[in-house]
Amino acid sequence: MNKRSTTLMTALVFGFAFLYVPILSMIVFSFNESRLVTVWGGFSFKWYGQLMNNGPMLDAAVLSLKIAAVTACGATVIGTLAGLVLARFGRFRSRTIFSGMVTAPLVMPEVITGLSLLLLFVAFADLPFVPNERGFSTIAIAHITLTLSYVTVVVQSRLSTMDDSLEEAAMDLGARPAKVFFAITLPIIAPAMISGWLLAFTLSLDDLVIATFTAGPATNTLPMMIFSTVRRGITPEINALATIMVAIVTLFVAIAGISMSRQEKRRQRDVQMAIAANK
């Protein structure tokens, strides 16, 4: 554990530096007095103030959050069902096509999915279940389609490591399949479903390409706004925005991490207790 681990350590350190240097530089320069993103002019909160007054930007942020929430819920429901099917339903007639359709969005270039969905909405604008105007609902539908594959992968992976004799035991004790799912499977895969939800939420919040294709002329999501702002010229407001997002995410992750490690410690204690009191 000597020479090899130094190479590994270097790779780790370099990799994390690579990942975090841009983020750190943005955080630092969000407090920059001067307008120039790269020259430090002194400490100031003014860009945060300007951000708060930037109406369109805030509207776009709220819209993106709403779409992301709806997307995450829809993707979690459909994706969990798909994960359940792939992990538990064995062989059925259209399984290969089904499996292909579910995993393809994971790798499909976004320009293709975006284009195809836009063409769908245009072509079928008259049909009842298709929204007439392109806007919130079209973006949400597109995002759900994109993100449900991720939920499926997470849920399917969790289900395949779960002991399925639990479900058999429940059935053996008289529970019908639907009851088994809600009473036994669901509580156990709940953490996986939650990470799926978060994943879908993030992907939706962050998506530019598909949103641009499927949004109507009047709709602006946050990434779309950022993209057009960047094209016009860099303003440090963007740095402030990024810092706020990083802060929120970090806080959230820290809380989740602490609560999970506390639960884990408690669990270890319980197991020790049981072993010690061995009857």
Partner: protein, 395 residues
Amino acid sequence: MAIPAERPGDAPNQGASPGKRPTNKQTPWTDDKAQPYIRIERVTKKFGDFVAVNDVSLSVYRGEIFCLLGGSGCGKTTLLRMLAGFEQPTSGQLFIDGVDMSDVPPYERPVNMMFQSYALFPHMTVEQNVAFGLKQEGLPRAEIETRVGEMLSMVKLQEFTKRKPHQLSGGQRQRVALARSLVKRPKVLLLDEPLGALDKKLREHTQFELVNIQEKLGVTFMVVTHDQEEAMTLASRIGVMNQGRIVQTGTPHEIYEFPSSRFVSEFIGSVNMFEGRLLEDEPDYVRIASPDLESTIYVDHGISAASGATVWAAIRPEKIEIATSRPLSQQNVAQGVVQEIAYMGDSSVYLVRLASGKVVRVTQPNIRRHDEEAVTWDQTVYLHWHPSSPVIVTE
């Protein structure tokens, strides 16, 4: 406790194995008029080309503890799962208390299963685990509480009702699993390797507890195991399985002392096999010549085989005696040299090499604490056995 009968067809033993009061219903399988509680009729299960269970027919009677015994891959677990409803037979039928289970899903069968991994619901307490099955029946809350309480007292877990599975030891979890499957008062309880995960002392203790509970509740048990000791202790009858077929059914005594084939005699316990040619075949005795022995084997009962046929004489290690001087008899004797001695505490195992090169395994109880004249390594010894000891098998 296993129900001992001297020979198949004999009247039930009135003498009592320790701790068991003899009843008249001890051996229902010998009664022509008894209706089997579980009837497996020509059941086959194929997974693609692989035949897991091959044309198995079996009858299990009410109140029995029946053990399916076999190595891994012999089909015993598949058969059990078919009874539980988790697999469907490719052909054949299963009847429980006279009802055909062909289209009945697992949640509607009067059968409960105790899983090898216990399968306790990790997010529920002990109480909730045990109550789960009763809740599915829609019983009133008061009744559920009473029955759960009773069951938990029976398995001696009354103080652990609020604990979760990860807060319990292995033995405690097993008792919860048992309570959970018995609280519904099923007609049949299926047990998949029930004692496999327990250490030796706990295993012995649990074996007796299981039998006690079964007697108290009168549930028919069907156990699947690869452990002979477990089968011998628990079962009223054992079904030995090999490659998807049941090769012999009988009480533990019958299986051990009257194996019907080479496979069964070699599978249960240890055995010495002498291959030989049938010299004389009379109704009341048989003489066999074996290349491994200088003397002939004389067996005091007749067998049905063609004269001159090749047979095997199976002699259990504990039925062979070791002597330091040559016995007078001309038959059922062999001379050899002691190659290995394994001291087991209560008994010793001797590996004796005969002149033909064959190594015979002999076990003897250590009657004396310290014996000056005990048999030792490289000593020339004489093995002999009673004419009733060998069992002749033809395949």
